[in-house]
């Protein structure tokens, strides 16, 4: 029993070490290592050990995104007040915390996703894992919001809310990458305003009443 846990932590250490060293390499050289072979040699690691965790560098990049997300959630959940937040506030808190974590990794992220590297429409494959995790997380928020009627339940559209909020993540990410303001205050403003807009749209509005009325007219004929 003791042996297996020891082995397990060693395993996690190795994985963490690879991620750490990968980030460091990117920071120092301003680019991704040329080959896994060269990278592991510098690390004094067996190539096999690398492949035990990742199939390639894009796997490492993917892990970085997911780690940032995990850390963000851990911080949020450690805050007492987070539980008392409304859905809107939860999402706001998520963004603010997430951006703080991004700030800690800004130089690394700019090397990989600086303005030129981030494609306008498609997104890098390595964000896929983060996307899945985020959507799972945000679904909870949406469900909660629907229960408290902060968010209106609408046929068809409701199922797309998580996807819409993911697009917002990308919007905030792009905004932050280009943000030149001191302390990234513009990003804070962008978050505040875009989340408020998103929740105003998702909330019950005149449009729902209108659709209801139109439906009534149609059926009453």
């Amino acid at each position: 029993m003791e042996k297996t846990t020891a082995k397990k932590t060693a395993k996690i250490d190795k994985r963490a070490k690879i991620i750490d060293q990968f980030k460091r390499y990117v920071l120092e050289h301003g680019k991704v290592p040329a080959t896994v072979f060269k990278f592991t040699q510098e690390l004094k690691l067996k190539e096999v050990d690398f492949y035990a965790f990742f199939s390639g560098f894009s796997g490492v990049k993917r892990a970085v995104w997911q780690d940032i997300f995990e850390v963000t959630l851990a911080i949020l959940r450690s805050q007492e007040v987070y539980k008392e937040y409304s859905s809107r506030e939860k999402l706001l808190a998520f963004f603010y915390t997430w951006i703080e974590e991004l700030n800690k990794n800004r130089s690394y992220l700019l090397v990989l996703y600086g303005e030129q590297q981030l494609p306008q429409l498609s997104l890098p494959r390595e964000l896929e894992g983060f996307r899945k995790d985020f959507k799972e997380y945000v679904k909870e928020i949406i469900e909660e919001g629907e229960e408290t009627e902060e968010i209106a339940k609408r046929p068809y559209i409701s199922e797309k809310y998580d996807e819409a909020l993911w697009l917002q993540v990308l919007f905030v990410l792009r905004f932050w990458i280009k943000d030149q303001s001191a302390g990234f205050e513009k990003t804070d403003e962008a978050i505040e305003k875009s989340v408020n807009l998103a929740f105003d749209i998702m909330g019950k509005s005149a449009l729902d009443t209108f659709v209801d009325f139109a439906k009534f007219l149609y059926q009453a004929k």
Partner: protein, 439 residues
């Protein structure tokens, strides 16, 4: 009020959108003029007052959707009652109280950024929503060691948007204040400087401590304690002053004696600042004064402080010497020094402006010429309004090629008009003091 509250909910994002908002208002104001003249043709008795009322309401609606410096300018215009036609005043007075709130997670984030701690970790209690809105931020109530504190938090991005907001406000300020482009630019640099200072919370704490220490000897005044260790660029923590604003306090029917006591404290406070410290709390709007439960006058918000340069001080205040109005040469020199008239003026202009400024001075200086002045006297204020209405609609002023009056006068004038109108609200009789060199 109800309507304006709703408007507070949506803030246009980005300069383009804000500009669009202003253009919309511009179009509306234009429309009001058309409507006005159309109505005038059918009903010649229609006064300008009604037109002003329509304009004020449209412009206010537009300004209320902005925050930060635009709101501040609206506030200033509502302060400078002397400059505003009567119909505008009430609408703009609304702007003094409301601004859209910051979400609580952003408040938490701001705290974490500067103190590495959440409000809950720093204080025993902290209100989740703002209890009060300020033009550049919002106020939360906190509790520390059983003591109530006020915590002011600045909106993000306010400092950067000062300059662009002022550019947006320009055409409206021109129309509202009825002054030329040139004249406006002359003053706007001064306004911009003050507004930027106002976003510097560290400076504000420093000044608050300085001025409140310097004024601590004045009877019936009280200042909150400022907590430097809980303040930073974006956050100010100070004692919570509980009590009433002047308007609410007046509703409790205070006796003449009480009103005089509060009014005198206010007068002495300004007297000491202007004549001894040569720097003055230049934001005398009613929200910054609280009549505490112990009967003293609490003063908050030293965001806007005007430092009065020595040479301006001498010229400006020698104007209140009573015999001066009679002494032509000395008066002329001061008029030149204070940039009321310049060498470029034609003889006709010189004569006209001198006459107007003389009238203004004797009117504004009137309280100083009596030992005791009754600020409850509404006819005095009507005289001031009448004069400024007349001046702002006068052709000579509108055609004038240059700005009149030193830019330092802007905030000093604002301070005195603010002080006078507060004293008027208080219906107080004041022993009006003068510095020794003017006696």
């Amino acid at each position: 009020m109800e309507e304006s509250r709703n408007e507070q909910g949506k803030i246009p994002v980005g300069k383009v959108q804000r500009a669009a908002k202003f253009i919309k208002t511009g179009a509306k104001v234009g429309g009001n003029y058309v409507k006005h003249y159309a109505k005038r043709i059918t009903d010649p008795s229609l006064s300008r007052d009604e037109l002003d009322k329509n304009n004020a309401s449209d412009i206010y609606t537009s300004l209320s959707e902005l925050k930060g410096s635009a709101l501040k300018v609206a506030q200033m215009m509502s302060m400078d009652r002397n400059l505003l036609p009567k119909a505008y005043q009430e609408k703009f007075a609304l702007a003094q109280y409301s601004a859209p709130p910051l979400s609580y997670p952003l408040v938490v984030k701001t705290f974490q950024k500067y103190f590495d701690k959440t409000p809950d970790q720093l204080f025993e209690g902290f209100t989740r929503s703002a209890v009060n809105a300020a033009s550049m931020g919002q106020v939360h109530q906190a509790i520390l060691k059983g003591k109530k504190l006020a915590v002011k938090i600045q909106y993000p991005g306010v400092a950067e948007s000062v300059s662009s907001d002022l550019k947006l406000v320009r055409p409206f300020a021109m129309r509202l204040l009825n002054i030329s482009e040139k004249e406006l630019s002359h003053y706007l640099s001064e306004v911009e400087e003050r507004l930027l200072e106002e976003t510097d919370y560290e400076l504000e704490v420093k000044r608050s401590k300085e001025i409140s220490a310097e004024c601590s000897h004045i009877p019936n005044l009280s200042f909150p304690k400022y907590y430097e260790e809980l303040s930073c660029e974006r956050i100010i923590t100070m004692d919570w002053l509980s009590g009433n604003h002047i308007k609410e306090w007046m509703l409790t029917n205070p006796s003449q004696k009480d009103r005089n006591r509060i009014g005198q404290a206010l007068w002495d406070f300004y007297h000491h600042q202007v004549h001894e410290l040569k720097q003055v709390h230049a934001d005398p709007h009613p929200g910054n004064f609280i009549i505490k439960d112990d009967g003293s006058l609490g003063i908050i918000d030293f965001g806007c402080v005007k430092v009065i340069p020595e040479d301006f001080y001498k010229g400006y205040f020698s104007l209140i010497k009573k015999e001066l109005v009679a002494n032509k040469e000395e008066l002329d020199k001061i008029f030149y020094d204070l940039e009321f008239i310049s060498a470029q003026d034609s003889d006709e202009e010189k004569r006209f402006f001198k006459a107007v400024f003389k009238e203004m001075i004797s009117l504004i200086g009137k309280p100083f010429h009596q030992d005791i002045f009754d600020f409850a006297d509404d006819t005095y204020f009507d005289q001031i309004f009448e004069l400024s209405d007349r001046v702002s609609n006068d052709k000579m002023f509108r055609k004038s090629r240059q700005a009149r009056g030193s830019k330092h006068g802007l905030y000093v004038n604002r301070t005195y008009f603010g002080l006078y109108s507060l004293l008027n609200q208080l219906q107080a009789e004041i022993r009006t003091t003068k510095p020794d060199w003017l006696r």
